[in-house]
Symmetry: C2
């Protein structure tokens, strides 16, 4: 989901190294909001799966299709059943990503969407970023080692050819469940050395 | 996980109404930290399941056993594989709860553990609370309707007989991923009318 900031960015995170030495064929794209999902759905002519592999009762939506020799599934957590807004945030994102891994065994997961960016770190409106590292800025646990757990720093899948081919910017991302940014969030985002800020990575 | 506060409390949240008109027989207890889990494991003489119903590679632990005519599974997210600390916080809690629902089809889920409490709201050290309502204090999304989604208010399962029988206190709980409490968190906790604060509800 787009986060507040003086710049708007797009980020794509590839989180899963392929398990064997074979071409990537099964791709899952996780997207938080329908307005972020639909341009991808339309570009790849994906169709909504009427019989998703997810449990009955969850609002999670799968769009699927093929592109060249790739099977593509775009997973969107759907609308909150009570409130009707997109199920944004890290919990929904983690749940659908887990369920998609279990059901679809992807070779590659791409977490894509709009994000906030920091001009002082070199981001501009319309930039497309590929994320090199991902960390939390709103899980403050000031106990040794738990503090590192809270930050949860992860390296994303390295994709140098993609970066070169598409001339993408590369930057670190900081994630959290709030759209605004408190002083404590800002300190953590600076500590995370983040160029990009989102709510679902 | 225990949260900071001038009082320490225990809370138990029963989140799942029984689906049919039959006695509750299958109970899942979700606990964030091993030190919180072991007294329950010992009390009910639960044993660690060497062959959990969870995917290979996850650190999630299931202790199981029976008490009278009840099947009890205690699920603990386990230790972070890299850092070795308990996998506290809302994301781990949501993932193991989801996976436990899928694998074990419980009639009742109890989210139990230590928590912070607010003296001004009537909490004292050693109190045992049953939670009536649960909401987030660290998902600030200041857009109409999304703001309500972020707060995510949920009613817990009502258990008046349990409250009466065990003479429990009843209160509202506010949850979030940080152990400390910023000014913004405090405002949200007050808005949530919370007596109890934890990190995994």
């Amino acid at each position: 989901m787009a986060a507040l900031g003086d710049q708007s960015e797009e980020q794509a995170m590839a989180a899963q190294p392929k398990p064997q030495n074979r071409p990537i064929s099964n791709i899952v794209i996780v997207v938080a909001m329908q307005t972020e999902a639909l341009p991808i759905v339309n570009r790849f002519q994906l169709t909504e799966d009427p019989d998703t592999p997810f449990p009955q009762g969850v609002p999670w939506v799968r769009y699927q299709g093929t592109y060249k020799d790739l099977n593509i599934s775009l997973i969107w957590p759907g609308k909150d059943p009570t409130l009707g807004v997109d199920s944004v945030g890290t919990i929904s994102s983690a749940l659908v990503t887990y369920a998609a891994i279990q059901a679809l065994q992807p070779d590659l997961i791409i977490n894509a969407g709009t994000a906030g960016g920091f001009k002082a770190k070199g981001a501009s409106i319309g930039d497309v970023f590929i994320v090199s590292d991902c960390a939390f800025h709103d899980r403050r646990i000031p106990i040794p080692v738990f503090d590192l757990y809270g930050v949860g720093l992860r390296k994303a899948f390295v994709a140098p050819n993609l970066v070169k081919e598409l001339n993408l910017k590369v930057g670190k991302l900081s994630t959290g469940d709030s759209l605004d940014m408190t002083q404590q969030d800002e300190s953590s985002i600076i500590a995370n050395d983040a160029t990009v800020k989102d709510m679902e990575a």
